[in-house]
């Protein structure tokens, strides 16, 4: 495989200091190849947004602090750059799209001005040139009648259109990498699909690499080539989307997939939920962080922190089931066979 565009190694982000410090991101490593979309999936508070924001030092600091790690983008370590060098990367080589397009645009500037600002910050373009390029950028994200619409204010746009504006802003300076933090969460489903289509199209036409942060597995399955699953600040499973969805390794991933609502004929099914709640990061569980909720947990899970087990060059999971000792004692849950998540094997699923 060619050298990845973005290579994050051992990234650790803490909130607070001393005893009360919370590790929101715990030794996270991953790569994003040129022209691919990588999905970063997890529950609220799993550290997925903190991971992305910390790459551009956009987390409020204090309390947030990058404790260790490196993030090489085309040979430059983003985490080691000075503030002014980093500013050139923000919106320059790395674009960022936020979750809520309703609040991410300045209400008193026209959208054209805002896109033009992103251009002028990174090029020597004059006002007029920047405006023309802003209109082009708006046109590229399929905003109808862009030359006129550029003069409108954000409140004159619908949610989906505003997210298109945000994407135009993020892409205005032709970045190589787009960090998209739940770009479709605030939008309704049909608009979601349009925005995802747009992202896929831009990835292909511009050769853009995208790190897509989401808690929506449906979104991941639609647009991502690779998937990273985060739980309590750690990446617990990684792999190509197709493999990960058809044969999830980590019990957490299995639980997530089983918890998706399924359309079946006849019988009424209860939604399968993962028991319990995500752990508090200020007092993470001992051993494996998922063990209090894991139907396959055994004694060792309580004491040994699992390391990542590689299944292939692209596939890995952080679970003691696959390495680091055999289960000594079962906690009332069969280790193999029909899963506690209760998915009958023949039930049709959107992943199969």
């Amino acid at each position: 495989m060619a050298e990845p565009l973005l290579s994050v190694q051992d990234l650790t982000v803490e909130f607070g200091r001393g005893k009360s410090a919370v590790q929101a991101v715990d030794h996270v490593s991953f790569e994003v190849a040129r022209g691919t979309t990588v999905g970063l999936v997890g529950e609220s508070g799993s550290g997925k947004s903190a991971t992305a924001l910390s790459l551009l030092r956009l987390l409020p600091s204090p309390p947030a602090r990058v404790v260790s790690g490196s993030a090489y983008l085309e040979g430059r370590d983003l985490l080691a750059l000075s503030e002014s060098e980093l500013r050139k990367q923000r919106g320059g080589t790395v674009g960022f799209v936020f979750q809520d397009p309703l609040t991410s645009l300045n209400p008193v500037m026209t959208v054209g001005e805002q896109v033009a600002e992103a251009i002028r910050l990174h090029t020597s373009a004059r006002r007029r040139q920047a405006w023309d390029r802003a209109v082009e950028a708006l046109d590229r994200v399929h905003i109808p009648n862009a030359p006129q619409r550029a003069r409108d204010y954000p409140h004159q746009f619908s949610g989906g259109m505003r997210q298109r504006v945000m994407i135009a802003m993020a892409l205005a300076s032709r970045p190589k990498l787009l960090l998209a933090d739940e770009p479709t969460t605030a939008l309704d489903v049909t608009i979601q699909a349009e925005i995802l289509d747009l992202l896929s199209e831009l990835r292909q036409t511009l050769g853009l690499a995208i790190l897509l942060i989401t808690h929506d597995l449906g979104v991941v399955s639609e647009v991502c080539q690779d998937v990273l699953v985060m739980y309590a600040g750690q990446i617990v499973e990684r792999g190509p989307a197709a493999e990960l969805f058809t044969s999830p390794k980590h019990p957490y991933t299995q639980g997530l997939l089983a918890s998706l609502p399924q359309v079946t004929e006849g019988e009424q099914l209860r939604l399968q939920a993962i028991q319990g709640a995500p752990p508090s990061l200020s007092e993470p569980p001992s051993g494996c962080r998922f063990h209090p909720r894991c139907p396959k947990a055994f004694a060792e899970c309580r004491v040994t922190e699992p390391t990542e087990v590689q299944f292939s060059s692209t596939r890995a999971a952080r679970c003691l089931l696959y390495g680091g000792g055999q289960p000594e004692e079962q906690l009332g849950v069969p280790e193999t066979g029909s899963s506690e998540w209760g998915r009958p094997p023949q039930r049709p699923s959107m992943w199969q």
Binding site: G91, L105, M109, L121
Partner: protein, 280 residues
């Protein structure tokens, strides 16, 4: 529609007062300091020659009222311009950066708020005017300094509070994410969003400053004679309140009308500029 009527009233009064202030030398039938000590020319009632009568030095009351508008508004605009620059800047820095910058600036405003405004202004004006040999024009500077020193913290507080709230808004984060430096975020993203509250604060602030200037002048430590101020005119007329009530009531009415005008305009603008009411 009460808001609309309120704005209209406030705006009319303010425009009339500004016009009176600007055109005072043209409109006034006499010079504001043209005294007339000939017997029987003082404390006159209304007449064709002197529409609003004369004061105890035989000066034309109408001319002095018009000139008083000029004095009051000049002090008001001067002080508010100072507040606008200093208060807005400090408020923006304080609200945007937070932390130590904020603590420093806010402790400064706390100290200022700890003194009763008027007492501090009286103290400063009294100190600056302690040398009676000075040119009376110098008293404008003294009043300006006294009122500017006590009035900026109010605007700084308002701007700081709004800037703190705005700083947390996502569009500020989004601006940072496209690589905008702090200076740019403060002046092109925060400031334009704050114009509404600032305009309202400055407009209502005008009313306060005009009132304070008149208070200082009433106490004799404001604008010095021969320059007329509504405050000093009220004080001059006080001793003959029953004999020539106009000399107290006319400047008092001008003062009340002006303060009311600015307050109405400020309140009306507050309603109009409220972002929750601005749609479409």
């Amino acid at each position: 529609m009460a808001g609309k009527a309120q704005i209209r009233f406030g705006l009319t009064v303010v425009v009339l007062m500004v016009a009176a202030a600007l055109l005072a030398p043209v409109l006034a039938p006499y010079a504001y300091d043209a005294y007339d000590l000939r017997p029987g020319r003082q404390n006159l009632g209304p007449s064709v020659a002197h529409w609003l009568g004369t004061d105890d030095l035989g000066r034309d009351t109408l001319s002095r009222l018009l000139m008083g508008a000029r004095v009051s508004l000049a002090v008001g605009f001067g002080v508010e311009l100072f507040d606008l620059l200093l208060g807005t800047l400090l408020g923006l820095l304080s609200g945007f950066y937070g932390g130590k910058v904020d603590s420093l600036i806010m402790r400064l405003t706390d100290v200022m708020f700890a003194f009763p405004d008027l007492l501090l202004a009286i103290l400063i004006a009294g100190l600056l005017l302690s040398d009676p040999a000075r040119n009376p024009a110098y008293s404008f500077l003294a009043v300006f300094v006294a009122l500017a020193v006590v009035s900026w913290p109010n605007l700084a507080r308002i701007v700081r509070g709004q800037a703190m709230a705005l700083r947390e808004r996502e569009f500020v984060e989004a601006a940072r994410a496209i690589g905008a430096p702090n200076r740019r975020i403060i002046f092109t993203h925060l400031l334009p969003n704050l114009l509404g509250p600032i305009v309202v604060a400055v407009t209502t602030g005008m009313a306060g400053v005009i009132l304070a200037e008149s208070t200082l002048s009433f106490l004799g430590i404001g604008v010095q004679p021969p320059y007329p101020s509504w405050g000093s005119m009220i004080n001059d007329g006080r001793s003959r309140l029953l004999a020539t009530p106009g000399q107290v009531f006319l400047p008092a009415a001008m003062l009340a009308l002006t303060v009311l005008g600015f307050n109405f305009l400020g309140d009306g603008l507050r309603d109009r500029l409220d972002p929750r009411m601005r749609r479409g």
